[in-house]
């Protein structure tokens, strides 16, 4: 699951190489789309060339739709992606200053860099201006400090600000973008000839197909729930009560023991130790995976356990010293919609009591009760098995769910 670098799937030493490669394509696309020409860029403000609007809007819609779908399919953890915070007043004033700067200079920083790379002198002068501007800002920062942090809304999303659902917002955004493309195409046809600027002919058929495609995607996106987990049901209070009163979530000590004895590291048994790391290191069940209860809310740990449980399909058992912590873990996963986890009944305490400490009972003599005889034999062999194992439990392979350090993602310019 992405983002790959913050998740530690790709080492952070590659982050700069990634930046370099992304930058290459960023620069190539900007230059190739004509963004290295200041006259073309400001055309959007006079109506003779709308390349800025087309590229900018299409890119934003593509990326926004892409993130929605990638989030839905679980390819990217959107909670880790950087969302630039809104400081309303500095954003408005800063934006207004940039707007004037755009019309005077004919560039924005990104486009000026691509234009400078192909030798545009006005772009180089513009970049020199940015440097002076940053310096001026830095030197005057002390008295602007309070304004700089005014109107703090945090990393708020635009649909939250508007009080509508994400799906509806995305849908409206696409509609607005398509309408803007249509209106500006007509404007450009009328205005461009006035300034002796050629208009590239429209390709109506292709355009229609593209528009239909984008609309369909937008309509689908409109129905994608914001949180992947919301796809599953959230339990109501009654359901929680019912689930906790029902014994169905428990798995019997004997059953777990049976599976362990017949195939430790078995493909069909997943044992998850939700106790603390110290307790886990001291003693645990053979083949258990450690994931402390406090870490279970971490997306990395959840993902690790779910991936592991996909390989081990049959019996997925949470255990703690008693039922309580394992129950909490079970509840957490149940609420996320994962139904097939169970709790080791009585926990490790009962397990140890049952197989290690309980005295060997008298052999049932009543031959008419085969079940009692079977139980007796099983318990004895299990006791032998686990007591033999106790000495080497440290050498048995246990896994630990990786707990990442807090992920910090920065962004912005």
């Amino acid at each position: 699951m992405g983002p790959l670098v913050p998740y530690g799937i790709i080492g952070s030493e590659f982050n700069f190489i990634i930046a370099l490669v992304l930058g290459f394509f960023f620069g190539y696309i900007l230059e190739n789309a004509g963004f290295s020409s200041s006259r073309k860029l400001v055309g959007v403000f006079y109506g003779y060339d709308f390349v800025v609007l087309k590229v900018f809007f299409t890119a934003a819609v593509t990326a926004a739709l892409g993130l929605v779908f990638m989030g839905y399919f679980g390819w990217i953890d959107l909670s880790v992606v950087y969302v630039n915070p809104l400081y309303l007043w500095p954003a408005l004033v800063g934006g207004a200053i940039m707007g004037v700067g755009f019309l005077l200079g004919g560039f924005c920083p990104g486009t000026s860099i691509t234009a400078a790379s192909i030798g545009r002198l006005d772009a180089m002068i513009f970049i020199g201006g940015i440097m002076i501007g940053v310096f001026i800002f830095g030197e005057n920062f002390s008295w602007m400090k309070d304004f700089y942090v005014s109107g703090d809304f945090g990393s708020i999303k635009v649909y939250e600000s508007l009080g509508i659902s994400r799906g509806l917002f995305i849908f409206l955004l696409v509609i607005v973008a398509l309408a803007a493309f249509a209106v500006t195409a007509n404007l450009q046809k009328k205005i461009a000839p006035k300034y002796n600027i050629a208009v590239t002919p429209n390709q109506e058929a292709k355009k229609g197909i593209a528009i239909a495609g984008v609309l369909i995607l937008a309509a689908i996106a409109a129905f994608i729930p914001e949180n992947k987990q919301a796809r599953f049901y959230e339990l109501s209070a009654e359901e929680v009560h019912e689930a906790l009163n029902s014994d169905q979530r428990f798995v019997d000590t004997d059953k777990v023991a049976f599976h362990m004895m017949h195939n430790v590291q078995s493909v069909n048994l997943q044992l998850i130790d939700v106790r603390s790391k110290e307790e886990f290191e001291k003693f645990t069940l053979p083949g258990a995976t450690h994931a402390a209860l406090s870490d279970l809310t971490s997306p990395q740990v959840q993902e690790f356990l779910l991936e592991e449980s996909e390989e081990m399909k049959d019996l997925k058992v949470f255990f703690s010293n008693d039922n309580i912590d394992a129950d909490k873990a079970w509840m957490l996963f149940k609420r996320m919609g994962y139904d097939d986890f169970v709790v080791l009944k009585g926990g490790l305490n009962h397990f140890v009591e049952h197989f290690f400490h309980s005295a060997e009972g008298p052999k049932p003599v009543n031959q008419a009760n085969p079940q009692a005889i079977y139980d007796y034999r099983f318990k004895n062999s299990a006791r032998d098995y686990f007591q033999g194992l106790e000495k080497e439990v440290k050498t048995t392979e246990n896994t630990e769910a990786p707990v990442m350090n807090t992920i910090t993602v920065s962004g912005g310019c």
Binding site: G2, P3, L4, V21, L22, G23, F24, F26, G27, I29, L30, N32, R39, F50, K54, V55, F56, T58, A59, A60, T62, A63, G66, V81, N84, P85, L86, Y87, P90, A91, V93, G95, I97, M98, L103, L104, G106, F107, G110, S112, I113, S117, I118, G119, A123, I125, F126, G128, G129, M131, I132, V134, F137, G138, M144, K157, V158, V409, G411, C413
Partner: protein
């Protein structure tokens, strides 16, 4: 390149940035890094005592940042595109009725304003507006509307530069 295709591809690059590094693109950050480095080289005490510059002095230094590497890539990518499209040329681009002098002054002034504005607005057209809109942040939309809204308001007064 067809602008819609360019926009689509740029959207994919943005998605790549989010998927790989968990962040969007940005351009003014690299310029800021250079300014901070220069200030730090000329007068380290001043840089360290300044509440703004000192923010960027930690870590491996202001030049070893993601955005600086991105911008190096932008320069190479832009140069490569310019080469294959035969657009490499030293040229001062200006409106048909603008003098070279006016264009130079306006470009410098525009750059200065963008430098100030991008710091105040926590990012420029790419870092704050485009990347922000992709993650549907309010900051992205507010910045975009402020930049382009103001642009339309003042366009009339700047027409001699461009038309």
């Amino acid at each position: 390149m067809n602008p819609y295709l360019a926009g689509f591809l740029l959207g994919l690059v943005l998605l790549g940035a989010f998927y790989l590094s968990g962040r969007g693109l940005g351009s003014s950050g690299a310029v800021k890094s250079i300014v901070v480095s220069v200030v730090n080289a000329v007068n380290p005490e001043h840089a360290a005592s300044n509440g703004f510059f000192s923010k960027y002095l930690g870590g491996d230094g202001p030049l070893k940042t993601w955005l600086v590497f991105l911008t190096v890539g932008v320069i190479i990518g832009g140069f490569f595109s310019g080469t294959v499209s035969n657009r490499l040329k030293f040229k001062l681009e200006r409106g048909p009725h603008a003098s070279a002098r006016a264009r130079i002054i306006a470009a410098l002034a525009g750059g200065i304003l963008f430098g100030v504005g991008a710091q105040l607005g926590r990012g420029c057209t790419s870092g704050a507006a485009l990347s922000g809109m992709s993650v549907l942040s309010s900051a992205g939309f507010v910045t975009m509307i402020a930049i382009f809204g103001t642009g339309f308001l003042v366009a009339y007064f700047m027409r001699k530069l461009w038309l």
